[in-house]
Subunit: 153 residues, 2 copies
């Protein structure tokens, strides 16, 4: 696999470094479309049914929010990096409903960077991802570690 040296490598992800992206508008059509395919619960499909739920109105599936966050990460820095993917997710918190028309902004903060004992050509970069809505409220947080190639010597 060709790795362009100009891409961001493990060495570029110093703890405290922040990447931002957005705003990205969420439409009713995509909320309902995602839910119909992956999470067909009333609060993600129908305004009237959603009013009687904890969310208090039509809101995106939490998994849709994860997908939107991933896409904003890809567009922000992942495609311009030597990322090798992630082995999983440490934690997700859905803090506030995401409504039709919301404008989401991503903040990705490098929390920790460590080398790999078994693979000297890569390291781990632990991120705290935050999604904010248009009023500055935090709608979601997600913590995970990406595997990242180290810069060739």
């Amino acid at each position: 696999m060709q790795v362009l040296v100009s891409k961001l490598h493990w060495e570029d992800f110093s703890p405290g470094r922040v990447f931002e992206h957005g705003p990205r508008r969420v439409t009713r059509e995509e909320i309902v479309g995602f839910a119909a395919e992956f999470d067909p619960q009333p609060m993600h499909l129908d305004e009237a049914a959603a009013r009687g739920t904890l969310l208090g109105g039509l809101s995106a599936s939490g998994w849709h929010a994860c997908g939107i966050l991933m896409r904003m990460c890809t567009d922000s820095f992942v495609l311009n990096s030597a990322s090798m993917g992630a082995p999983g997710v440490e934690e997700v918190k859905w803090l506030r409903p995401i409504r039709p028309g919301d404008q989401l902004t991503l903040r990705a903060t490098v929390v920790e960077a460590r080398t790999s004992k078994s693979r000297p050509d890569m390291g781990f970069v632990r991120f705290m991802f935050e999604l904010f809505n248009q009023t500055g409220e935090r709608a979601m947080t997600l913590t995970t570690s990406l595997m990242m190639s180290r810069r060739p010597a």
Copy 2:
């Protein structure tokens, strides 16, 4: 909100209880379609590019796997329960690639059930969700707690 007493309530989710669902086939078209919208990295879009990555071939985005797992949960028991949603996710592990043509099976195990101190009408049910492929390998695990209405007295 009308709650049908015949639905599964918090009291029905005893630790150790297992729900199973599937198999559910995953197609190349849906893998590429999901990736194009939410996770446009080469290993989820293009067979040739994917061969040079850690996944070793075209594989579903981990977020797509989460969506499939959620849909299998909804079809298995969530829509037949008094679930009020989840505040987040405790942990996700992507253990093996999910390939075009894979047949996935879900196993949902109740790990813990506890009441809510602040809301006596609901409780929490902690689940361990596992996705297996057609050869019985565990492709993914996910741990989370659902908020569940208690059965009216």
